[in-house]
Symmetry: C2
Subunit: 291 residues, 2 copies
């Protein structure tokens, strides 16, 4: 890695489906300021993603006590959801940004760099969505991460969706009864018959919030809730086992659901997980420094 | 039922997620013409639904050798997917249609009237979606039918979605291998890594077409395909059992997937099913005559 000059400034961006986090760091990696912007899934909405990045960077400059025109002096490392799709990556590369330069990669890649503070390793993300990632010998392996309609087993949105399905079956008496029925109707403030109507515009983030009902019901020994969590945890176990086969050296479980699901994973899987050393946006800073 | 006048003309509309069927009948129930329009799921797209109804009615008038301005003399019975949602029913009632009058109900209700040529009975629909319905003592019971994201187990779209999920897991080696992988990649003409991208705009109808891959793989003893069909068939069995509890007298299994899934149902369930006596659009004509 070439040694950066003392006066260089780095921007790290971690963009996901819900929000976009920015940090500004100096050449020693000291964080000078932080900012946050809106959704930044480049696959779902490219224009919004670019606006969210600028918003987050502007806020981080302000937080660092730096003028907005310093934007052009920032070397940006940008990790974004959705740029694993080649056409989306190409479209982002065409962006007329105002930074000094950008290094673009997936949100998974910067999360991995951040978690291990080095280029090689593996991460399993379980938040709104779920995904497995390893980067070993310059080779990326991505497992899952297809969204909660097609996959994302073990994620918050998947768990919330499975809970809603189970409640609908229970309401029809075509599935076992569950305490989640009353909890979900209370949470959404709707009668049983209006549940589907109420959820007609629900986002993956809305479903992810419902996952808290699943964990609450499981605490009360609700068998339906327990079986949903077990199925999700089993998938995370499988992802971990597949990722270990790539020999990543170090593996972390990250994302908003990670602390909730960890007790449900196989003990030998948990024993081999390491805590993340830095946040994804710091991984993005490291990427910019390497560029 | 008041006796219709000899000169009265009736339009029967059966609107679903894929297409909209129309028949024009005289007061004796003799079918004079047939027409077809595009998708007519009022929940998914109200404007498109109304356009599809007009398209189908126009084609049916033409088929009957009647001028288009006869539209205003038609008493229409309209059965639509999605109008079980109260807000959608209300929105359809606001429609400034060009018919003499309309009688609006669910696609399930007209399918049930058609299947039994009388007001009481039960139907299980399995086509693009799935649903159970009985109408006994003026009381409707609806089971399932929430769309393939939240339910519709045992339907074509559900089966196609489960197949795609299974293929994605198999591709990642986080699920068992299946012959459906090669079949799906061939069918969609995409490499494994582009499968999700290709399906990003897929409709429930697109997923329903994929269900044919599941049945084809099951014929070749593919265990993953067989387990998907078994899970779907088990749900249809449960729906049948629940509907028999409402004492409907007669029950039919209808919809595009019905002949494919029947061999997978419990023999005692199959033994109690009766063939449908008329198509749903004829049930819609009967509804219009009763109004």
């Amino acid at each position: 890695m070439p040694k950066p000059s003392m006066s260089d400034l780095y921007l790290g961006i971690d963009g996901g489906g819900t929000k976009c986090c920015a940090v500004i760091a100096d050449a020693q990696g000291v964080i000078l300021g932080r900012g946050m912007g809106g959704a930044a899934n480049a696959y779902q909405n490219l224009t919004q993603t670019q606006a969210s990045i600028i918003d987050a960077a502007t806020m981080a400059l302000h937080d660092a006590g730096l003028p907005v025109n310093k934007m052009r002096d920032l070397s940006a490392g940008i990790g974004l959801a959705g740029v694993n799709v080649p056409s989306v990556f190409a479209a982002m590369q065409q962006w007329q940004h105002g930074f000094k330069k950008i290094s673009l990669t997936t949100d998974l890649h910067i999360a991995c760099i951040g978690a291990h503070k080095t280029t090689e390793g593996a991460v399993i993300v379980t938040g709104t969505g779920s995904c497995g990632y390893s980067f070993v010998a310059k080779q990326a392996t991505i497992l899952g991460g297809h969204g909660f309609l097609l996959g994302d087993q073990g994620s918050g949105a998947w768990m919330g969706l499975e809970a809603v399905k189970a409640v609908l079956l229970a309401d029809d008496h075509t599935g076992p009864q569950t305490q989640m029925s009353a909890m979900l109707h209370d949470y959404l403030q709707v009668a049983s018959t209006m549940l589907v109507d109420k959820l007609s515009t629900a986002s993956s983030g809305d479903y992810a919030k419902i996952s808290q009902i699943v964990f609450a019901a499981a605490l009360q020994q609700d068998e339906v809730a327990i079986s949903i969590i077990r199925e999700g945890a089993h998938y995370i176990d499988l992802i971990a086992e597949r990722l270990w086969q790539t020999k990543p050296g170090r593996m972390s479980l990250i994302g908003g659901l990670s602390t909730y699901i960890t007790p449900w994973l196989k003990p030998d899987i948990v024993a081999r997980l390491s805590p993340p050393l830095a946040q994804p946006e710091f991984g993005a800073v490291m990427l910019a420094m390497q560029a």
